[in-house]
Structure formats: structure tokens, C-alpha cells
Symmetry: D2
Subunit: 332 residues, 4 copies
């Protein structure tokens, strides 16, 4: 039985809390949140205790710390947990600054603790199925990865301000998927992007609609298209073209109901947003974490995956500023 | 080059006229219709002549007579053409009376002329593909054939009166498909049916919504569902369940356009009605007719197919009247 | 917090145990099973106690008894629980004998305890969505309900022997769906059926492939097709044709992955069997039970739903024996 | 009745010949081809005459000249026809050289004759339906156009050599679609491309796999992905994301047959190649040409559409060479 402390009792922390409580091999022991009522409510619901960081890290019964707090606290909490010699799960991103990510990962390496970064999509059954087919050569050599990722609606300006921008906040998931599916690091990133959805986004210097092209040394490519707004729900599709065929993950719809009426054959919309669409992915992510720790194997995706995805995001941003393709490694 | 005379210049006659004119190995020589303006217009469009029956049958250059006139003229025209020793294509049905069909087919047999009955669906690319898969054993042994057949809207009362009723007019196509796909004659027919669409249909003693179950001696079954009205277009689906899988023909939609909006993912409706849905089938039917005649092989579907389908329709009607399953052969 | 005792720790009992344990408003207190190791394992997993029936029924803290044991124990356990004045959830069927069902339900009525019968499909999100659309008139008046229900593989002969036959064991779910969607009791049942899948089924006097037609006084109809074997997975589709459109629930596939290769565009198979396909339905069923009890409202589907579905099953069996349509009420 | 002369009796010329012969308002009068047997066969099939260019252009009965010959003859034949004062239909491209296209179009302008360039996809029913929806504002403002265009197999090296390269030969159709759907000229083109399919393509200095991003001044974007090889058939999909929804044109499959078996639910492949996929488009293209000429309106797509698509192709090529985005107008 693994004892888990949860840092952060917000939207995503609640998802992980439910999964931890429901998993037969682990137990939610502690909850911490800067907003006390949130910590109390979550702790009560699952029979956990509320505690501060020092208490949690000093408690020798705690095996795993799950970091689901605000992005700007991630790196500090990872380092503190690493020094306390506990396994770490951290929601993406490690940090918005490349330098800070590098120093944080150095601390983790020194401490020798296991670290998983929460790129949940790798654990979605359909995405994982696609990756397994690629790995098994079912469509020959991978040639082009196409990722369509659109949120149902633009976030509030307050969020946009601290998000690190579209590429570091939203596209970063797609960068991770692209790396995972290409199975090769891109050597060039070109981004074209606009603020078409929300004038406030433009005022804040961010973009909400983007096309990013990644090119590998072997000639393999990936193209990512993003929008902060899809009137029809959360649009999450992946397509891989290979030498012997194509694999696609289509949208998961709200139900299997189809209505045929005078104006057409109407299927349901895609599931609303990530909490619905990736509910299974979050469950599988935790299960993999627990199973991998139990086996004593290396966690994945790990710190370097977090770093590489951020490198691609920063390269996209640099490309957008300069109007030219950018080599990600040149930013290190 | 095959010379063809067309009897009947109505809706279905016009379809065949276009196909005859467009086929590189035949020529539309004559058009006949009781309504002179229709005959004239069609003849002019395709460079054919208008003529009466005697002239047509006396013309030794005519190889094939295509009968597309009113149902109650079919049997007489078939017999006259047979006696003139010309090949015959006749739209379904041969006649609404079993006895008349039998006597008519006897005449054709005596004359020894080739006869094709216009069960066009056998020539639809998707339906033909399904049948070929069955024939090749791709889903093992056939166990259950399910046919959904719904018209976009109820016909006018005037038509219903002379149609012979739902089973002889509309279901007859489905009976032919069922026989073709079961590849065995049903020994029992049970029909349940209602007049739900149009009160006038009820007043005329007919039905517009039906479920018909066909059972074979081997235990294989078919179930046909019909409606005279589908608000979403012409619904034409077939499904065959076999020992090793299932084959389905889905609806052909008006276009490949799909619209995703706030209220769902909207595909186009099925193509409107038989003239659109079976345009390819009519073309292939003619091509098969010409090719089979050229090879001197036996035409299919032939007179017996027309007879057997009518037997099933009459059995369904008898079942509806008596409330019991009926053996089709018992009606001969 | 509702205290629940589970009678029966087999396949379906394990499903309910997990859902009870995971629901925030109830607690699994007791497990009983004739096979002690099964009871022990399940009790341990969820922190419950193993007990015998008397102990459970005598324990005043128990609010709800969930009966998931063998079919032939259902009626006795329902009656015992009713006399102990506890709420009852019972897996279908109440019993295989109409007379026994009637006497059992009389006992429940006298005791005045709430009873839910486990027709889980009513709680499947897609099926429930379809029914809500019908209720709201989204396709006008219901005219024809078509239910396709096929198991992935035939059950072992041992099971077939005690199952009560295809209609009482498998089709009974479809009869419940038909009643629910027709929203009117059928007055006539006609069944045609064969043993095509497994010779042993035939030897046991049962069938494995069936077409059942239900007709209502208003003229509305339902047609159910069943097979004990679908090589491509658990086939669970529903289609309702109404005066203004059609509603369909399509199969839920194993994942959203689609592979396009030289031999076609390959989507995944339907989910394997009821435990996968109806996982959400079982969860929603329990949630509805708890919520309805909390509100003090009448549970549904209730004892009469169990009775009516069995009446239809018996009518189908009688129809198969006599070769004629049967009025279900005539069997009471 | 429009009299048409066809220059070029190859694969695409044969398609147009059949459509011309089948259209009620025009007639195939002449066929010309440098390979006499091809011209003779086609002329005989449709009752036309074989003639040389001078005879055709001198014949005052000829209203329209359809140019379907080799690409390097297009510009000369357009100019000769323009000087002979006849309407012109020319397969794409006008020429592979921007300068030659400009001088050729100047000649056409001076002559004042109507010219249609054969961008057939604009006349595909599904693509045209999509564009009409955009025009009518059905998904609000257009934000992102995504075009997937993949050939079933790579062309022979002989063809690649004279094709002008992937962008001028294949992508040019997609550039035309992008311009048509964006309804705004792109100001920037960025291309990333590789030779992954065929080593010979690489040896010839060409590419076979490409991602091209087009950006407009308004911020609207288009992304085109190409491959010379799709093992599953001709892949032709378009997707437009707008402020109020998404429109997609999916692939047209070989038939409506779907097979469910142990390894999945298998739909048919996309139609093999452009002759099958765009058969309707070619027919509609001719019908629009004839109708527009009859009304005396301006033909579309016209010479400037040919020029703009070539500009985008050349910008893509320049981008690929320089590794930077290119402004198309800068190439004029």
C-alpha cells in the first residue's frame, strides 16, 4: 500500500485524489492547499489529513508526493520533495523557464528519486493503442504525424497572463505527443499563429490559433494545429501517416446516439473538455505510476520529457517572433 | 450495336433511355408511350423515333424491348414481345396476379426469348459487393438477413389504389433481395403491419409500416422492416449476420460534407430517393443485360425471380389477413 | 450513508461491489456467498464482513440488500429481505416461473419495501439519451423499435441448461428495452428462431438465433434480433423510427483508433461483452437507486417490469412452440 | 449546341471526351493528338473527326477548344486558340514558368476570349457544398483550412522529371483549394518537405512528402499536407475551422459495404485515384463551363487563378530551398 500526499486541491488535484482513493494499492494520506477550505473538503471526502509541506515531507510513511498546485510552485516543490527522498508525480510543466527546469532536474538527479511528469495523453487508451501500433510497425515507417488540438473555449484573461502563452500552456501536450510518436527529436520548429478568437489574447501579446511544423533530421515531420475555441467541444485528434498505412484517433463523442432528421444525420459532439475526454487517461497514468514504482523501473514520461517539450514550445515562440524556423537545441 | 425500343416514357423510362443512349454498345431506336408528348420529348432528346407497338414489334432491326409502362400493361407487352421473338427487359412486377404471372411466363418459355426482370438493387455496387462476399464465404454461413427499406414520403392515394399494396409494390424489392442473399427459398412468411403514416392509406385498406419475417427450412431467417415515410431521406440498408462476421451496406449520403457545430456532428442525409440512390444500379443493370445477351447466357434476375418475389408478397398479405405465418408455395 | 449487503460474489456481484465501494453515499457492509473463498476475497478487498443471511437480515444497520446470486435463489431472497423490511435490488430475472414471480411480488407489495430489478441497459448513457429524446418528442410519434442484440459467443451447455432458454435469459433484456421505448404493452408476440450456432443448444431444446416481432394495439411495433455468437464482439444496437426521424444507438468500440491500410479502413471492434459495454450503466443504475431511495420516490424498473418482460419471454416461447403469434396477457 | 474540339486524347482527354459526348448541349467535333492511334480511337468512339490544329482553329463552327495535351504545350495552344477567337478550357497548369503564364494570359486578355483553367476539385459536389457553407457563414469566420492530399502511389521517374516538382504538379490543386476557401491571398508560404517514399525522387531533386503553411494578412491560415503514396487509396480530405464550427469533407469510399469480423469493423478504402474520385467533378466542371458560356458570364476558375496557384507553388519551392517563409508576390 502506497501512501500518497497531494499538493494542490484544485480541479486537477481533485481528479487525482479520486483516482488515488479508488486504486486498490494506494491511499490518500495528506492533502495540502494554500486555500484551506479546498484542502479540508478534499481531505474529508477521502478520509485524508490536511497538513503543511514540512509535516508531509517529514512523515516517513509518505511514499509519493503528487504535485498539482499552481505552475509557478512546481519546481520548488519538486526540489523539496526530491531532497526528502520521496517519489514525485508532477503535473506539466515543471516550470515555464528552461533554466529553472534544468536546475530543478539536476536536483532530482542528484537526489536519485523517481519523477513522472503528467503528460496524461500518453495514457489515453486510444492514443496508447496508436503508439503501440506504430511501435509494432503496423503502418511501416512513420512519415507524418498530424495533431489537431482545440479547446472548447478560450480561458479567461487572468489565466492567459500567467499561462506562459499558448505554446507553453496548451501546445506543450501536443509537443509531447509529437515527440512520442515521431520517436525522434525534431531539429526544426516553424510556427505561424494568430489571435483570432479573443481580442484580449492579442492585447496580452499571446495567440490563440496556431500551426506548428516540426521537422526531424530523418525527414519525418509533424504538424500541430491549435485553436483555443471549438464550438463543438474538445477536439483531440491524431493521425499518423506511414509507409504502409495511416492510423487515426478520432474524437470520443458524448454518447453513441445518432439522430437522423430532415436536416441531416446528427451524431453527438466530442466530449466537452479534458476532464471528461481524458478521465481514463488520468486513471491509467496513476496505475502505470504505481505499477512502475512497484517494479522499481524508471518512470516515464520523466523530467527530460518535460524539458524537451518545453524546448519545442520555446522554439515555436522564437519562430513566431523571428518569422523563421528555429532549431530547439540552439536555445539551451 | 443493339437496337432497343422503349415502351413507357415516364420517370423510370427516362432513366433507362439515358442509360441506353449513353451505353457504347446499344442505341435507342424507338420510344412508345400512351401520352404522346412524353414519347415525343424523350425520342427527340436521344434521336429516337416514336412508334406504336405493332411497328416496333414488326421491325426486324429491334433486338431488345424495354418495358417501363404502367404495371397493368406489363404482362400483355411481355407476351406480345415474346411472340415477336425479341429479348425483353421488364420493370418489376410482371403482374400483380400470381396466375397472370404464371401464364405470362409460360408464354415466354414457349417463345424461348430471354427475359430480365428489373430488380435493380442486385446491380447496386454496394449490394453486389455484399452478395459477392457472401458467395465467397467471407462471413461463413449466412444466418440472418436484415433489410431496412423506407421511402422518403408516402405516395399519393391515386398511386396506392393501383399499387397492389405495400407488399407487392414496395416490399417486393426487399423480398427479391432476401431471396438473393439467403440463397434459399423461405418456407414461412409472417407479417405484422400498420397504417401509421397516412390515414388515407388505412382508408384504402393498405398499410405503410411493416415487419416481415421469412424463415427457411435450414433455419436461416430474414427480417424486413418497411415504412412509407422517412423524414431523413431514402433509407436503404442491408445487414447480414453469418457464422464468422457481419456485412452491412450503409446509406449513401448526399455528399461527404460533415458539419460540427454546437448541437452536434452533422453528416448529410441519405440520397433522396431511388432515382438518385440507384443511379449506378440502373446503369449496371443495363450493362449486365447487354453483356449477358452478347455472351448468349441466361439473363438474371429472370421470370422465376419475379414470380417468387410475388409469392412472398402474397404470403405476407395472407399472413396479415389471417394473423398467422403462411407457407408461400401453398398459394400456388 | 447507506449500508449495503451483497448476496452473491460472482462476476456480476463483483461489479456491484466495486460500484458500491466507490459511491460516496454508500458502504459495502456485508458479503454473502455459498462459495466461501469468493465471499472472503470480495469482503477483504472492500473492507466488508462476511456473514450469513440471518445475520444480515437481523442487522438493523443494513438499509439495502443487493441480490446477485444464482437465478433460482432470487425469489426466496427477495421475500426474506422484504420480510426483514429492507430495500431490495435484485438482478434480473425475479424468477423463471411466472407464478413464482407473481407470488414473490405479492410478498414485496405486502411488506411495502422498495424493489429495483436490474435491467441495467436503461441506465446506459446512450440508451437513456435515446429514451429521453423519445419522451421529448424529438422524432415525433414512435412507430418502429428495432433491437439488435448479439453475444460475442455462446455460453457453455451447463449454463444453457439452467438459463430458462434464450428468451428468458438473453432476450429478456431486449423485451424490457422494447417495453420502455414503445411506452405501450405489446398485445402480440411472434417468434421465429433456430439453433444455428451450437449443435448442443439444439440438443438441449433451446435456440440461439431469433427474430421476435412485438405488436401494440396502436399499431406500433418492435422487432428484436438475437444471436448467441458475434465474431466481432458484443453487438448492442437500438434504432427507433418515428414520424419525424430516426434515433440510433450504435456500438461502443474498444478504442477510437482507426487503421487505413491496403485492405480497408479498419475501426475497432465493439467492446467485448456486457461487463465492458455496460460498465457505466451499472454505475448509473446504482447511483439512481441511491438517489431515488434518498428522495423516497418509487424505484424503477420495479417488480412489474420484471413480470412484464417475463410475460413477453414466455409468449415468445409459446409462439415458437405453436408457430403462431401469442397474446402475452393470455398467459397469466 | 456547342461544338467542341479536344486537343489531347490521353487519360484526362478521354474523361472530357466522354463528358462532352454525354452532355445534351454540346458535341465532340474534333480530336487531335500527336499519337494518331489515340486520336483515331477516341474520335471513332464518339463519332468525331480527327484533325490537325490549323484545321480545327480555321473551322468557324468550333466554339470551344479543350486543351488536355502535355503540360509543355498548354501555353502555345492557349495562345493559338485565343488568336482564333474561340473559348478555351485548359487543364492545369497553364505553364510551369511564371513568366510564360503571364505572357500567355496577356495574349488571352488581348484576344478577349473566355478561359477556364481545369481546377476540377472546385466542382466536386462535396467540396462545392463546403465552399457554399463557408460563403453562407454557416461556421462564422474562417480561421484555419486544413487540406490532406495524398496520391495512392508515386508516379514513375519519367513523369517526375517533367512534372515541375511536387508543388507545381500535385500541391497546385491544394493551393487552388486553399485560395478558394480562405477567400484571401496568402502573404506568406512556408514549406517543409522530404523524399521518404521513393529514393529516385530524391535523386531527381524532388520531394514526395510535404507540409506547407500559408498565412494571410488577416491571420487566417491554411496547412497542406501531401504524400505521393497512400497504401489505402487516394486520400482527399478538407477541413475548415471557423469561429462557429468546423466543416469537413471526408473520403469517398469504394462502396458502402462494411465488414465486421474478428479483427475489426472494416469499411472500404477511399476511391482509388482522381479519375474515380472526381468523376462527378469533371462532369460538373463541363456543365458549369457550358452554362456560363451560354449566359455570357465570366468563366471561373480563370487565368488569374492559374497564375496565383503557381505563385504559391513557386513560393513553396523557394521556401524549401531557403529554409524560410516566402512572400508569393515577391516572386513576380
Amino acid at each position: 500500500m502506497l501512501n500518497v500526499a497531494l499538493l494542490g486541491a484544485g480541479r486537477i488535484g481533485q481528479i487525482h485524489a479520486g483516482n488515488i482513493a479508488g486504486h486498490p494499492q494506494c491511499r490518500l494520506a495528506f492533502v495540502m492547499d494554500v486555500y484551506a477550505p479546498a484542502a479540508n473538503a478534499l481531505a474529508e471526502k477521502y478520509g485524508a489529513k490536511v497538513a503543511d509541506l514540512d509535516t508531509i515531507l517529514a512523515d516517513s510513511s509518505i511514499d509519493l508526493v503528487a504535485i498539482c498546485s499552481a505552475t509557478n510552485t512546481h519546481a520548488d516543490l519538486i526540489e523539496a520533495t526530491a531532497r526528502a527522498n520521496k517519489a514525485i508525480f508532477c503535473e506539466k510543466p515543471v516550470d515555464l523557464s528552461l533554466q529553472r527546469v534544468q536546475s530543478c532536474l539536476a536536483t532530482v538527479r542528484e537526489a536519485g528519486v523517481p519523477l513522472m511528469v503528467g503528460f496524461n495523453r500518453r495514457f489515453d487508451p486510444s492514443m496508447a493503442h496508436l503508439q503501440a501500433c506504430l511501435r509494432d510497425g503496423e503502418i511501416g515507417e512513420t512519415e507524418l504525424v498530424t495533431i489537431s488540438s482545440r479547446d472548447p473555449g478560450a480561458p479567461p484573461a487572468e489565466y492567459v497572463k500567467v499561462s506562459g502563452g499558448l505554446f507553453r500552456d496548451m501546445t506543450i501536450h501536443d509537443f509531447d505527443m509529437a515527440r512520442w510518436l515521431l520517436n525522434e527529436e525534431p531539429v526544426s520548429v516553424y510556427a505561424s499563429a494568430s489571435a483570432l478568437v479573443d481580442p484580449e489574447v492579442k492585447a496580452l501579446g499571446d495567440v490563440d490559433t496556431a500551426v506548428v511544423t516540426l521537422t526531424c533530421a530523418s525527414g519525418k515531420m509533424a504538424v500541430i494545429t491549435n485553436s483555443r475555441r471549438a464550438s463543438y467541444g474538445y477536439d483531440q485528434r491524431i493521425e499518423v501517416h506511414g509507409s504502409e498505412g495511416m492510423l487515426q484517433v478520432t474524437n470520443q463523442l458524448e454518447s453513441q446516439l445518432v439522430k437522423s432528421v430532415a436536416n441531416g444525420v446528427v451524431a453527438q459532439k466530442p466530449q466537452h473538455f479534458f476532464l471528461q475526454r481524458y478521465a481514463d487517461a488520468y486513471r491509467n497514468e496513476l496505475a502505470t505510476l504505481i505499477e512502475t514504482l512497484a517494479k522499481g523501473e524508471v518512470l516515464y514520461p520523466g523530467g527530460n520529457d518535460g524539458l524537451q517539450a518545453l524546448l519545442l514550445a520555446d522554439a515555436a515562440l522564437e519562430s513566431l517572433k523571428t518569422g523563421k524556423p528555429v532549431a530547439p537545441q540552439s536555445l539551451l
